[in-house]
Amino acid sequence: MCEISIIEDKKREFEVLALQYMDSFYGAALRMTRNETEAEDLVQDAYLRAFRFFDKFEKGTNFKAWLFKIIRNVYINKYRKASKAPQMMDAMDAEASGSLSVTETPENFIFDRLLDDDVTKALDSLPDDFRLTLILSDLEGFSYKEIADILDCPIGTVMSRLHRGRRILRQSLYEYAKNHGYLKG
């Protein structure tokens, strides 16, 4: 009886903490998997795994960051896409390194004229590690230190991924804007 009530209390505590962030996790999962069903599966798997390891969560620390770390690990295990990222990253980065320089930037470069879909597509086309780092920084507002902890990498890597990721993203959006005729080629 006592044991059951302890488990029930643990479930309630977990639900209160975890369910409030569901939109954030689902949004990130959707951007990572690019597929609604897979995003739902990923979030569900991560929640179940998080609950099983809830005893290991250090109270008073950042629960949202802890759960993001679990989602990222489940994603890597399940999809293993991360293992392909380095090659893709290098290729895309090389492409982007020849991107528009400051002096080439047209005066009327107006991101606002782009469609939501263009922005989503550009973000989705980033390599996994860059995309997740950008999501954690720009959408979730985590500090570099928190991101480094979630992604299990040095802060320097976070900075470099953000810098390179944004550069690639800017180049992609520039291409979209050009294709839509918002910019002169």
Partner: protein, 266 residues
């Protein structure tokens, strides 16, 4: 500070992560450099654009409800030992499409090991590998395997001693034997029964009746503390046979680009 240094620090500046001393130097530079200011403005718009356009995705209500339900039955979830699956409920029926012997042991050895660790009774029905090879593959990930063989928590038996005890395949008899084995396991203090079996012993004539058996098994095990992994040799399965496998297992594991992938089917 030169323009190329500025370029390196733009993101950290926008994210308010610059060391105060660097920030001071940074701001002194951008106060006098139009190009760098322009660069910063662009990255600022980019950040704003992402925040404005992408942040408002709502999780489906049904997902929240589903997670609450699954959390309430968390005790029924087992760690599979297979990386791409992680957790599965009792009653799950998984198929593996494999090509060589190595692919069988690569999946089944950690699957069995995880079962032993979780106090499950584990049964491995072998056909195209020897008992020694099966035992050896588990030993590589779990050196204590001998102890589990001795105390009876792990059984490695030949397909003839499981599927063909009557000299031919009889699906009903296997269903009964599985249920009994599962009940015995629980009576003996184990959490449930975990089974792995390969199918390369199947004669061409037995295929249809075996698939019928798989379908019945799929339903019969849904309320039992039973987890079953069936390995099918991929190059011996014609396309229609693969469709049969997909139709009778909720989860199908197959290798692509040297990595195991999971497909949810039912």
């Amino acid at each position: 500070m030169e323009c190329k240094d500025i370029n390196m620090w733009v993101c950290a500046y926008l994210d308010n992560e610059l060391d105060p001393k660097v920030k001071e130097i940074f701001e002194k530079h951008i106060a006098v450099c139009n190009n760098c200011r322009k660069e910063i403005e662009e990255y600022k718009s980019l950040k704003f654009l992402i925040q404005k356009r992408i942040s408002c995705i709502k999780a489906p209500d049904i997902l929240k409800k589903k997670i609450i339900v699954e959390l309430s039955r968390i005790d029924e979830y087992r760690e599979t030992g297979i990386d791409v699956i992680d957790l599965l409920c009792w009653g799950s029926h998984i198929a593996q499409l494999y090509e060589g012997k190595d692919e069988i042991t690569e999946v089944i050895a950690p699957y069995m090991t995880k079962g032993l660790e979780q106090n499950e009774f584990c049964l491995w029905i072998i056909s195209d590998i020897s008992k020694y090879e099966a035992k050896d593959s588990i030993t590589k990930v779990f050196p204590n395997v001998e102890m589990y063989l001795d105390n009876g928590q792990l059984e490695i038996i030949s397909y003839e001693d499981w599927y063909l005890t009557e000299g031919h395949f009889n699906g009903q008899q296997i269903l009964d034997a599985s249920s009994k084995k599962c009940q015995d396991a629980i009576s003996n203090g184990y959490s449930g029964l975990r089974v792995a079996g390969t199918t390369c012993w199947l004669e061409r004539n037995d295929w249809d009746s075996f698939i019928d058996f798989e379908e019945i098994m799929n339903n019969a095990m849904s309320d039992q503390k039973l987890l079953v992994l069936c390995s099918y040799k991929q190059n011996e399965c014609a396309k229609n046979k693969i469709a049969d496998v997909m139709n009778t297992h909720k989860y199908v594991l197959c290798k692509s680009d040297h990595l195991w992938r999971l497909k949810k089917t039912l």
